[in-house]
């Protein structure tokens, strides 16, 4: 585990100086010793002073489940990331709302991932995966993230929004802008570029909303679903709420699956014995997919805000305090998961992970994500003996999205 020069090693720090909101920790993939120490010595940990103000870190599995299940004491409003939204763009969305408002907005769109829809989407996804994989340059080094992960998830998003297909890369761009700002997640997106881009996103989707309104088309795209539901039929009139929900759905459908699609390749390369297992028994693909989602934890945290003074595990949390649940740490908690630092594709209970969150905000797209990843790996195994990583991965600078931006690979045909 290399910790680069400009980051202190956590064992050299006083406990109260350990600040896991520093996004360089994730960019340099140096997080393990930080969370190991917090879980062991101070599982409900307060930092008085960070770039994002004071906050609590919850790092053990059991405690995270307890906080995530308690939406009365730990509110999702006003934001679910460590940083607060900027004043220029005070967006709102249903993941940053508590019941009952959360429930009605979520209900308007969750039918998109109902079983019947998923079954219909599978064939479409497979045909796209086949096209993407068949188009890869055999014998050349290329970036798996661009050619496969982004390509695949962006196509899916375009379908979910019924977005103009040729312009679908805008969705990825907006997603990166939405999640990558310095004050929200320690990213390096330029604030002005972000503001301009997100206004463009809002304008584009406002136009789409009005074009679609009452056009009688029966497709199950997210925009028409919002329009059909009595609780959300006028959402366009509240631009910050509309933009907020668009970003939620775009980021939720994009960053997560994209980074799991890259992480699977990386994990199998770092663990060749597991790649062997998979080759010998492709029936392991579904459990491997769950293991990848745990191992990667594409969204590393969710934040809550205390609704009142709460005593939690002997600590006094005050009303208004930020309480951050580190899913990345919970997924590597040795008291909940056996051998958590190993990547094991045939674990006894691979679905036991918290990457989708728990409680009423649990990811609504989880089955769609798993299906896309399963289909991707089914088709990879049909074509390639190996997707070989041939260089160092580059990682995203963020304390929220655990992302891979560059993964140089070569594919070897069967």
């Amino acid at each position: 585990m290399n910790v680069a020069q400009d980051l202190p090693h956590p064992s050299d720090l006083a406990l109260e100086d350990i600040d896991v909101s520093d996004s360089r920790i994730y960019q340099q993939d140096a997080w393990r010793p930080y969370f190991e120490r917090l879980r062991k010595e101070d599982p409900v940990h307060y930092v008085a002073d960070s770039q994002f103000g004071p906050f609590w870190s919850i790092t053990r599995w059991e405690d995270i489940v307890a906080v995530d299940s308690n939406f009365e004491d730990f509110s999702s409003e006003p934001a679910i990331v460590i940083g607060d939204n900027s004043e220029e763009l005070p967006i709102a969305n249903f993941i940053s709302m508590d019941p009952p408002k959360h429930d009605v907005q979520r209900r308007a769109v969750q039918g998109v991932v109902a079983p019947k829809n998923l079954a219909e989407m599978e064939a479409l996804i497979r045909s796209r995966v086949v096209e993407i994989l068949d188009g890869l340059p055999v014998g050349e080094t290329f970036n798996w993230v661009d050619r496969v992960s982004i390509n695949l998830t962006t196509q899916m998003l375009a379908t979910l929004f019924d977005f103009p297909f040729e312009e679908r890369f805008k969705l990825t761009y907006w997603s990166d802008l939405g999640a990558g700002s310095p004050e929200i997640a320690g990213g390096d997106v330029d604030p002005e570029e972000r503001l301009a881009g997100l206004h463009d996103c809002l304008e584009t989707f406002t136009r789409i909303w009005h074009e679609r309104k009452d056009d009688g088309v029966e497709t199950l795209d997210l925009i028409r679903m919002l329009q059909r539901d009595p609780n959300t039929k006028d959402m366009v009139d509240d631009p910050m709420e509309y933009l907020g929900n668009l970003l939620l759905l775009i980021i939720g459908g994009n960053d997560t699956t994209r980074n799991s699609a890259s992480a699977g390749v990386l994990a199998l390369n770092q663990n060749p014995a597991e790649y062997e297992k998979l080759r010998a028994n492709p029936a392991l693909i579904p459990s491997m997919v769950s293991e990848v989602i745990r191992w990667q934890t594409p969204l590393m945290h969710m934040r809550r805000t205390a609704n009142k003074d709460v005593e939690f595990q002997g600590k006094q949390i005050r009303k208004g305090d930020k309480v951050v649940m580190w899913y990345l740490s919970g997924n590597h908690d040795e008291t909940a998961i056996e051998n958590p630092n190993s990547f094991i594709i045939d674990r006894e209970n691979p679905r036991k992970h918290m990457s989708f969150g728990f409680g009423v905000h649990r990811c609504m797209g989880n089955r769609l994500a798993e299906m896309q990843l399963r289909v991707l790996w089914e088709e990879i195994m049909q074509r390639f003996s190996k997707v070989e990583v041939v260089g160092e991965p580059e990682r995203v600078k963020s304390n929220f999205v655990r992302g891979i931006s560059n993964l140089p690979v070569r594919v070897h045909p069967l």
């Binding site: 995530d68 299940s69 429930d103 209900r107 969750q110 728990f358 009423v360 089955r367």
Partner: protein, 106 residues
């Protein structure tokens, strides 16, 4: 031991000898009944142990608490008789209980 029957969405029926005091979810998992994922291990936090309680068992299996209610509210396939099986504790008077499992857990 009460006998409990779980019917998968495809019609496959499993009758098990359930252990009293354990949740219906744990009983199903321990007996290898497919169709329940139970991702959170019974903490009423994932919604992936969804089942439909057949008449006339609603009274015996009890009411829905607030947290369970909000978890059930996230299911597109929620019905009147929806329950989370981790929140049903098997008792002796459940002998003969029948529940159906949904097409998908999610």
């Amino acid at each position: 031991m009460p006998k409990v029957t779980l019917i998968e969405h495809n019609g496959a029926s499993h009758t098990i000898d359930a252990e009293v005091g354990k949740s219906l979810m744990m009983n199903a998992i321990d007996n290898g009944v497919p169709g329940i994922d139970a991702d959170c291990g019974g903490a009423c936090a994932c919604g992936t142990c969804h089942c439909f309680v057949e008449e006339p068992w609603a009274a015996v299996t009890g009411g829905v608490e607030m947290l369970e209610e909000s978890m059930l509210g996230m299911r597109p396939d929620r019905a009147e008789n929806s329950r989370l099986s981790c929140q049903i504790e098997v008792s002796d008077d459940m002998d003969g209980l029948v529940v159906r499992l949904p097409e998908y857990q999610m």
